[in-house]
């Protein structure tokens, strides 16, 4: 159960990185504009569905118990998986690149860029 909890948390952390979280600084003053949770978007309970986890068990050969660390394991793959999904969804309308995090604004701007290029 601890392992599952770590992976759940890790996946959500990665989803947050892919879609929401951004430390934004004002270019002229250096002020952190995403300085509170009113502006810094954290993933919340309603951001993600529940997960079913699958396992592939490969014991570690370098210690007597065969154990490995698993802290926040889901955080490595989830940003890549989510960004690939975003690009897969937008590919058919010609979008080749979306900045991370893929916020509603960034996705919209990417689509607009494609439309402008098509019109030109």
């Amino acid at each position: 159960m601890i392992v599952e909890g770590q992976v759940h948390g890790g996946i959500v952390q990665g989803v947050g990185q892919a879609l929401m979280e951004a430390a934004v600084y004002d270019k002229s003053t250096g002020q952190l504009t995403s300085g509170s949770y009113m502006d810094y978007t954290m993933p919340r309970a309603d951001t993600v569905p529940s997960f079913k986890l699958g396992y592939k068990v490969t014991p570690c050969p370098h210690n007597p118990l065969g154990v490995k660390g698993c802290g926040e394991a889901g955080a490595i793959a989830s940003p890549a998986a989510v960004m690939n999904a975003v690009h897969d969804a937008l590919g058919p309308i010609g979008v080749k690149h979306v900045e991370m995090p893929a916020t509603p604004l960034n996705v919209w701007q990417s689509i607009q860029g494609t439309h402008r290029a098509a019109a030109a």
Binding site: M38, D39, T103, P104, L105
Partner: protein
């Protein structure tokens, strides 16, 4: 927080007296904006006059063609009121989507309308339904109440006692919440009442505004198809890290069409 004198009057007349002649005194309803402002030392009022003890300011009444809501009525009470839900369901929906449960059980309609935060939800309902704001001294029509960024027609020591909303034939509110704060980045209230069709937008500009072109088109044909080609100019709209003025202008159109579709359901 700076030091201030705290008052808790029992009647509207006492509250008005406590505010009289004190330009640095502030009235407090739910405190959902004022208390964080005080905690951050962004305001230094001499006196805080807490309106929570004034029973006469809260409550919901249906009178003829109007639903009249007391200034100190909490969002949660508007959201769950059988009278609001049966006469203006869109208003109950709006109230039920303000902030979070904690805010809805403290924040009040009068407080939100008097504060006129550019991203607040209620101003869109007040303008779209052409409500009348009643204060301790006069009645103010919706179109002349909201003056600009955090600015209203309220004078010094003037308090909102109630807001009267005409029943709507069709109405709906759709908001695109700021992903972090969940305030309205753009919120559009569309209403068809005996007085005609109105489209009011909050979150997008410095203060709530109407979209005349959409109102005219919807008066002829109340369908989302009738407004699909209407473009909103981005000039003067709000811009921040979550939404440029251009994106907000785009969202006004999207939310307006969704609101019309919801109103037609």
């Amino acid at each position: 927080m700076y030091d201030f004198a705290y008052h808790r009057p029992k009647s509207l007349a006492d509250a008005v007296n406590m505010l009289k002649g004190k330009p640095e005194a502030r009235a407090m309803s739910g405190g959902m904006t004022l208390i964080p402002t005080l905690k951050q030392r962004l305001a230094k009022p001499s006196d805080v006059v807490d309106l929570a003890g004034i029973k006469e300011l809260a409550g919901i009444k249906v009178e003829g063609n109007n639903v009249t809501i007391g200034g100190m009525t909490k969002h949660a009470d508007v959201a769950t009121s059988a009278d609001v839900k049966s006469n203006i369901p869109a208003l109950a929906y709006l109230a039920g989507h303000i902030g979070d449960p904690q805010v809805r059980n403290r924040g009040t309609m009068g407080g939100s309308v008097a504060n006129n935060d550019p991203a607040a939800d209620y101003p869109a309902a007040v303008v779209a339904l052409n409500a009348t704001v009643t204060t301790n001294t006069r009645k103010v029509p919706a179109d002349s109440f909201f003056k600009g960024l955090f600015e209203t027609a309220l004078g010094e020591g003037e308090l909102i006692t109630s807001i009267s909303f005409p029943k709507a034939e069709k109405a709906a509110y759709m908001k695109f919440p700021n992903p972090a704060s969940r305030y309205a980045m753009v919120g559009v209230f569309v209403a068809k009442t005996a007085g005609g069709v109105r489209v009011a937008v909050t979150g997008a500009g410095p203060s709530v505004f109407r979209v005349k072109a959409m109102e005219d088109a919807l008066a002829k044909n109340f369908s989302s198809a009738a407004i699909k080609d209407i473009k909103i100019p981005a000039d003067g709209l709000n811009s921040d890290i979550h939404g440029s003025a251009e994106y907000r202008a785009h969202l006004v159109g999207v939310m307006a069409r969704r609101a019309v579709d919801a109103a037609n359901k």
